[in-house]
């Protein structure tokens, strides 16, 4: 026997305090609002992450990125390919496809975009999971091997942007970066 004998009442028949009821209504309506606001942003907002995805073998994706880099390699006035720190700078057609490869430990190649133009980005990994983190704008997207994520991106500002890996990918994780240049 418990030393205190409880009231034998059924808990779902207990009355509710007025403040509790009021708070429950407020909280419920707020939850509903947050639910509808996510849906609404698909109509009123411009930042809805694309879900277009294809399965692709990692080595196939590497080939595609290499073809893309070769086709759109940026050239200087002397007809020499432009590189930064040994990484080719690639200038895709405005409104065209962009292939960006994440691998141990770099984002390859460097991409040069035009401000205000929309591009179809293809993101995937050659090996482990990586994190595409575009700085300082702070756009963060997971990158998986075997899945090609296709998303539209329109830069709204010009300058040099860093890509920093933000999914732990082994001992070189903190050396994994990339670059996107946006020109007027």
């Amino acid at each position: 026997m418990a030393i205190f004998s409880p009231e034998k009442r059924i808990w779902w028949k207990q009355p509710i305090h007025g403040l509790e009821l009021g708070w429950i209504i407020v909280v419920f309506l707020w939850g509903l609002f947050m639910f509808f606001f996510m849906i609404a942003w698909h109509f009123i907002g411009d930042q809805n992450l694309s879900t277009e995805t294809y399965r692709i073998a990692p080595d196939k994706f590497v080939e595609r990125v290499e073809e893309f880099a070769e086709e759109f390699q940026a050239m200087d006035e002397n007809g020499e390919p432009i590189e930064e720190e040994g990484v080719p700078v690639v200038r895709p057609a405005a409104g065209g496809d962009v292939y960006l490869l994440a691998r141990l430990w770099e984002f390859w190649p460097i991409i040069e975009l035009k401000k205000g133009e929309s591009y179809r980005f293809h993101l995937s990994s050659a090996d482990w999971q990586h994190g595409f983190s575009l700085q300082p704008t702070n756009i963060n997207i997971s990158v998986h091997p075997g899945y090609e994520h296709v998303l539209s991106l329109t830069p709204t500002e010009s300058g040099v942007f860093g890509i920093v890996c933000n999914e732990y990918c082994g001992i070189g994780h903190h050396t994994m970066t990339g670059r996107i240049r946006v020109v007027e």
Binding site: R9, Q47, N48, L123, P136, T154, G162
Partner: protein
Amino acid sequence: MTTIDHSGAIAGQQPVYRSCRFTGLRVERSAELLIRANAVAAVVFLALGGLMGLMVALTRWPAVQLLPAEWFYLVLTGHGANVLLFWILFFEIAVLYFASAIILGSRIAAPKWAWLAFLLMIVGAVMANYAVLRGDSTVMFTSYPPMMASQWFYLSLILFAVGALIAVFVFFGTLVVAKAEGTYNGSVPLVTFGAITAAIIAVFTIASGAIILVPTWLWSLGLISEMDTLMYKLIWWGMGHSSQQINVSAHVSIWYAIAAMLVGAKPLSEKVSRTAFLMYIFFLQLASAHHLLAEPGLSETWKIVNTSYMMYLAVMASMIHGMTVPGAIEAAQRRNGFDRGAFEWLRKAPWGHPAFSGMFLSLVMFGFIGGISGVVLGTEQLNVLMHNTIYVPGHFHGTVVTGTTLAFMAMTYLVVPLIFQRDIIWPTLAKWQPWIFGAGAAGISMFMMGAGTLGVPRRQWDIALSDANLHYEFAPGAYLMMGMNGLSAILAATGGVIFVLIVVGSVVGGPRLDAAGAKLRFPLHDAGAQAVSHYGSEKHPKLTGTAILVTIFFISFVLYYFINWKYLSELWLFN
């Protein structure tokens, strides 16, 4: 009409009871020993994991960068396992035994199985540390494939989980025993009810863990050729996030328990508080989807349904507890005679009792820091602003450290005198401990969130990116935030060391409380034992102060939510 053997779990072994001289509750010997063992193991892993956490924070302080890169990633993996799994689960098992055997005045069911569970959990926890320290399992707590840890890492987690599952079933068995032997009438008290929700969620969690960790283990043994990375993430988070809901159910139960024992608080309405606990069971598991908002291949509809319908109803449950717990305290304090104005009840609350201050700080910070940031992170579109930045650990240190860990520390100040029967040593230091630890933990959470909004990645050794081929310079504010995070970690670690010293010192050399006439240094409320082990709601209380508190909370929540949408609208366009 029962098949339970009333003479004890095993023939010839009569359960031994004592009557607690401070609460009058009936305490069975095996239950008491099991609570002690699990609580001691919890504190050991807290000390180990906390030390690792301090090393992580000091490494991420750019001006200090304590550990070399290889050690940093290794220690970070160990930190996650030791505090997020071992400290919290050992303590939760102690809480489950307390909420069943002690609060219901019952014997524990199958004590031998409970000891087997404890043994398996210890073997698992030690093996995990061995696997991590060997250096070939630096895969982080989440261990996302195709990165592979040693087989011992996965096996250790499986053993630990099996142990925890057995312990959960001992808890369920104890409920059956208590019912059959009539140690209570009617409904179980609210604290036990909350513990039952935690245990039910634990079964789901451990099942998800088995579904993903067993194949991953076989993969590490070479018996399975490939692990799909998205599938792994989806199922792993069925364990990873649901396990956080065990914590929430457990620490909310502790909020109610401490409020009951220290000010004699009864729930405002049993119906509301219990329904809120039930909502955790119904909705939270699928809310794990918010870990996958930045992944390819999952539809918008799937993301919205899982993060709103599921998550908001679980958030709603937490917001209800966030009102009913202070409400219950206010009602009880007004009954205790502190009825003037809106806040006399709060000013005159037993702030000198570390269990009360720890519990109230946990309540406030869990809501304001961990809760609000969690909803923002878990919003379909907003996630892209912070996914995998250090904002994420900022958020979950707000839930798991300022919320769960602080609540568990607060509970320990009651477990030591009542279960170990030793009084708390160094009472002045004990009074300050929750504030020191709480301030440090709040700093850790908020400075990491601040750094995350500036783009600093999580789990990364060097934000200066010194060894990267293509350089990028983070804003100076990011360095400041990471430095402040390091300082906060030192403060939290100080609070942690004080906690461990007080607990170990009290258990080993605290004044004995089993002698006649012994008095508690930090007394309980006269009606505390009745309130915690008794079923029943408060009658018609006045709750002005609580109404003001929840209004402040709600306004903060709404403002912070919309500020983030404004940030999002300034991003590059995704079309």
